[in-house]
Symmetry: C2
Subunit: 322 residues, 2 copies
């Protein structure tokens, strides 16, 4: 049996992140409060370093390396926020980092990862298996692989965002969190159970990729094909052993939203809250809007984790313009 | 001689705003800091209520009304942020508000102002004089006219944003503020002189509408035609007696930037800081970028007031897309 991380691990992670991660603001929206007769608290991880909560988990994991691990450095495979999170954390902690990325990843993402000082090793996603490529390099160089979500230190790090939220708001009635591989959702659930035990905790997935919802209902991890959705950070095919173990115990339900709902939420964030939020970062609020719209949050105090803001500007402009 | 408001008026305004205005976050950008070798502190008034600093001045002015004034209410002419600021402040304080707006103002702005509970009185900007229209209604109804910038209580209210910034950062080397009619610039200068006397204070105008710069150099208020610029909040034709009196005494220089520089700054805010900022709100940072680019801010601690985020989404998307 897998030994799951605990809330104490979140507390320890918070101490490691002190002075390195931003304590992101909790913003309010009187428009949302008035429209739905509830109180919304938005924990804005789009203002986190490198633009997403992923910095928390990566930094926590890397800062636990021993001297030998630190000398050899960290390796990760990702074309998204985890790549930049590991790259930036490694730079801050003074260790080498290798990121294995698809050769045809957007040039901007390759450049951003290199800008943070990481070595980018490209692979051909049509002929090569990225895990095999990564493990080979890790073995050759003695580097430590940091997976994007299914790792106790990553989960504990991600949990610090919800912890900061509850420290600021006190107990809440509900907490909405986006769900991809489950790192943020499971970490948030650890904090919720400790600091706001009565809160309903909801993970939110794209409709097209509801593997988490299926897993929760089936009682085991369900694998799906890579889903087609604008929420590129939630295109995961399955939960992990650690994340599912926490989610099945501590999460009340897993909800889904459509891409159209994500765009509506993105427009609300831009127009009413003056924030740029990436599609994946809109999942939690889109589900909260749907529940509020049907009267399900009346009079409640509702936490929403806004997970990130990394979206290509041309794509963002196109989504806003509709 | 006009009796100018003082820093004590800013302190008194802050007490009135307590619990009504948001204490907006001061955000950082390690990208900006690294790129230019300086420390930037962004006071984000785009996250203020109704999306701009204007709420501060309007609320301060209205909250000083006596019983008779309160009963009759407030009147303003504006098609921009001042309209919504007066409307929202009046609603909070439980008094009537009339906003005189051009009949052909964007439907969204008319709707937003009505949504805040104000009565909108349209006028024809080709055949009618808005000041005359406004004064007539004010006289008929006994309402108190709140001008958008040239009023001691408005100036004192706007000064509370810079005060909060300095409270958080301590003294700075430079402060950049957007300049239209001068309410925010003069209020900010009062706070700067009290809390950071050595800071250089810069007002920033659109290149096309540099009446403030001309006025500072001429030593008297210069009037210009309505300038063509995307910074619609800074299309003022002249400073006011109060604002010019403070600016000539307390502001070090007035700088100008082009519309292209505003768009660059807007893109930086969206891409790097995940914030929606309206064109006028980009003035201060655009000028700071230009000065930093030429090495003029090396090693300095620099305050930038981000004044607002109210921009029509379709227009915003078009500007981002370039």
């Amino acid at each position: 049996m897998t030994l799951l991380p605990t809330y104490q691990d979140v507390v320890d992670a918070a101490a490691r992140l002190e002075g390195h991660a931003h304590r992101t603001p909790v913003l309010r929206s009187s428009t949302a409060d008035t429209r739905w007769g509830a109180e919304f608290f938005f924990k804005c991880e789009n203002f986190q370093r490198m633009g997403a909560f992923k910095f928390r988990g990566a930094f926590n994991a890397l800062s636990k390396f021993d001297a030998a691990q630190k000398k050899a450095g960290a390796i990760a495979f990702s074309s998204g926020n985890h790549a930049q999170a590991v790259a930036l954390s490694a730079r801050i902690l003074g260790m080498p980092a290798v990121i294995v990325m698809p050769r045809d990843a957007p040039a901007a993402k390759l450049a951003a990862t290199r800008e943070y000082g990481a070595e980018v090793i490209p692979y051909d996603r049509f002929t090569e298996d990225r895990e095999a490529v990564t493990k080979k390099i890790a073995a050759e160089r003695g580097m430590t692989l940091i997976p994007p979500y299914d790792h106790p230190d990553v989960i504990a790090g991600q949990g610090t965002a919800a912890r900061e939220l509850f420290e600021e708001t006190g107990p809440l009635d509900a907490l909405f969190v986006c769900l991809g591989g489950g790192g943020l959702t499971s970490g948030s659930a650890l904090s919720a159970r400790a600091l706001s035990p009565q809160a309903k905790v909801y993970g939110v997935e794209p409709e097209a990729g509801n593997d988490g919802q299926q897993s929760l209902r089936a009682g085991h991890i369900v694998h799906i094909d890579t889903p087609k959705t604008i929420a590129d950070g939630a295109q995961t095919q399955h939960l992990g052993d650690y994340t599912f173990g926490i989610i099945r115990r501590d999460v009340d339900d897993i909800l889904t939203v459509s891409d159209a709902q994500l765009v509506d939420a993105m427009r609300f964030f831009a127009e009413r809250m003056k924030m740029v939020v990436e599609p994946t970062g809109c999942l939690a609020f889109a589900a909260a809007c749907a529940m509020a719209e049907s009267g399900g949050l009346k009079g409640q105090r509702v936490g929403v984790i806004v997970s990130g803001g990394n979206v290509d500007l041309a794509r963002y402009a196109a989504l806003l313009a509709g």
